[in-house]
């Protein structure tokens, strides 16, 4: 059986829909991982011990275990304690928190690297420590780690294929389903790969735009 790419148009809509799901899940988890990363970082650095402990547990789970297991836990495990999430929501939470932990590491380092004079200047004006963190320190820390956070988001895009295991018809699973009907793995995996590549390019483009925009304000 030779290669035959002419079969693609017939199933293009299925794969396109999968690509749309992948994009949606990636964007939603990226946003969650960004803000979650800030929250985790602030808690790790400044929260009292009693609040830090549960967060440390979450961090340990999301950093020390496979993402696959985390997705199973959120989707199948939580049902047992009465939390029945739709698969795509479970996927977004799993991916989002997983990468929030990685973003948090970056943001923590960046917060500590912000010049001490910034906090002092803000405090001198009469801001409380929390206000100074929010308005002065964190915005600068986040700007400083946009490039490595961008790299994490590309990794997130690739790992989003894992949510197929809990039945979300994203790009990889859509391709698989079409392959199940057509027995054309090469053509459709290549097609899926091409879509991932295009989404990847879009994300890099957005990242460059953000970086250019903030360059002046650093």
């Amino acid at each position: 059986m030779g290669l035959d790419f002419s079969i693609i148009p017939k199933y293009l809509d299925v794969v396109l829909l999968g690509a749309a799901w992948t994009m949606g899940i990636t964007v939603a988890s990226a946003i969650l991982s960004f803000f979650g990363g800030i929250v985790f970082a602030v808690v790790a650095l400044y929260a009292p011990w009693i609040i830090r402990q549960p967060f440390r547990l979450i961090e340990w789970v999301f950093m020390g275990t496979p993402l696959l297991l985390q997705l199973f836990l959120i989707y199948f495990g939580l049902v047992q304690i009465g939390i029945d999430l739709p698969a795509f929501i479970a996927g977004i939470i799993g991916l989002g928190l997983h990468f929030a932990v990685y973003n948090s590491e970056l943001i923590q380092t960046a917060i500590l690297a912000v010049d001490k004079g910034q906090m002092e200047a803000a405090r001198t004006l009469g801001l409380s420590r929390g206000e100074a963190l929010r308005k002065v320190v964190i915005p600068q820390a986040v700007r400083a780690v946009i490039p490595p956070i961008g790299n994490n988001m590309i990794a997130l895009l690739k790992d989003s294929a894992l949510v197929s295991v809990i039945g979300v018809s994203e790009l990889t699973l859509s391709a698989q389903r079409v392959i199940g009907k057509t027995y054309r793995p090469f053509e459709f995996y290549i097609l899926a790969a091409a879509f991932y590549y295009v989404i990847n390019l879009c994300m890099e483009w957005v990242q460059r735009k953000i970086e250019r925009r903030i360059a002046i304000s650093r």
Partner: protein
């Protein structure tokens, strides 16, 4: 507390960093509108004293009073935070390295705190920014980011930022030391204008000429104590203490 205090009063200020005693029983009072210069060699405790006034480096002993209110009074933690934030709103501080917020334009640097702490509307804040930046000759650069400004311009914006809180007292910690020589004058001019408006100021400086021209009184500090103080004419021309003479001699030689 009924005792009469001067506008700014420092009583028996003592500060140690661990075993290192940096301020040793310093007392000082400043009347409203007075301009006090502090000179002294590196490490003598000038910055520490200035930073104690708004509690950036809290004293380990002694009292700081501003306009009849004790700055470093003992209060439970929560209340103290609230009290100190209120006190700091009344004291403007200008740093050697400007410490402008790089992610904000000049306008935003000036308006952030007033908007946040005094609930100014955007319109009122814009007006305030224009007013204060005009005062330091930076109105044209109102929407520039710090990265687009020269050192002297940054420092002028930093002064505008401090003034926007309408402070009762301004503290300057070597405001021109980090500037290229040709940019010093523009900042000095702004400070002179403040002096003409009778702003109460405490100025730590290495520029003796500037101190002589704007200060009502000059203090010479050495190793954590005020060795000598007096009007600039006396301090610079006829210092009585040997340590002061030595410092000035070295300093003038150094400047040549």
């Amino acid at each position: 507390m009924t005792e009469q205090t001067d506008f700014v009063e420092i009583r028996h200020a003592q500060k140690s960093f661990g075993a290192l005693e940096v301020l040793k029983d310093i007392s000082l009072s400043v009347t409203r509108g007075q301009i006090v210069g502090i000179i002294g060699s590196s490490g003598s405790g000038k910055s520490t004293l200035l930073r104690a006034i708004n509690d950036l480096d809290p004293l380990t002993g002694g009292e700081i009073w501003l306009d009849g209110v004790q700055v470093n009074k003992s209060l439970p933690h929560r209340q103290y935070e609230k009290h100190i934030n209120e006190m700091r709103q009344q004291v403007g501080m200008v740093f050697q390295h400007f410490n402008l917020f790089p992610h904000m334009t000049a306008r935003e640097n000036v308006t952030m705190a007033p908007k946040m702490l005094k609930g100014l509307s955007q319109a009122a804040a814009d007006k305030l920014a224009e007013e204060q930046l005009d005062k330091v000759g930076m109105l044209e650069r109102i929407d520039y980011y710090p990265s687009q400004l020269s050192g002297g311009q940054k420092q002028r914006v930093a002064i505008a930022r401090a003034l926007a809180m309408k402070p009762k007292l301004m503290l300057f910690d070597e405001a021109t030391s980090a500037l290229d020589p040709e940019l010093v004058e523009e900042v000095n001019l702004v400070m002179k204008r403040l002096a003409e408006e009778h702003m109460t100021m405490i100025i730590v400086t290495h520029e003796m000429d500037f101190a002589a021209s704007v200060c009502d009184r000059v203090l010479f500090m050495d190793k954590g104590v005020v060795v000598e103080e007096g009007p600039p004419a006396t301090m610079f021309k006829h210092p009585t203490k040997e340590r002061t003479r030595e410092f000035l001699r070295k300093h003038i030689e150094g400047a040549k």
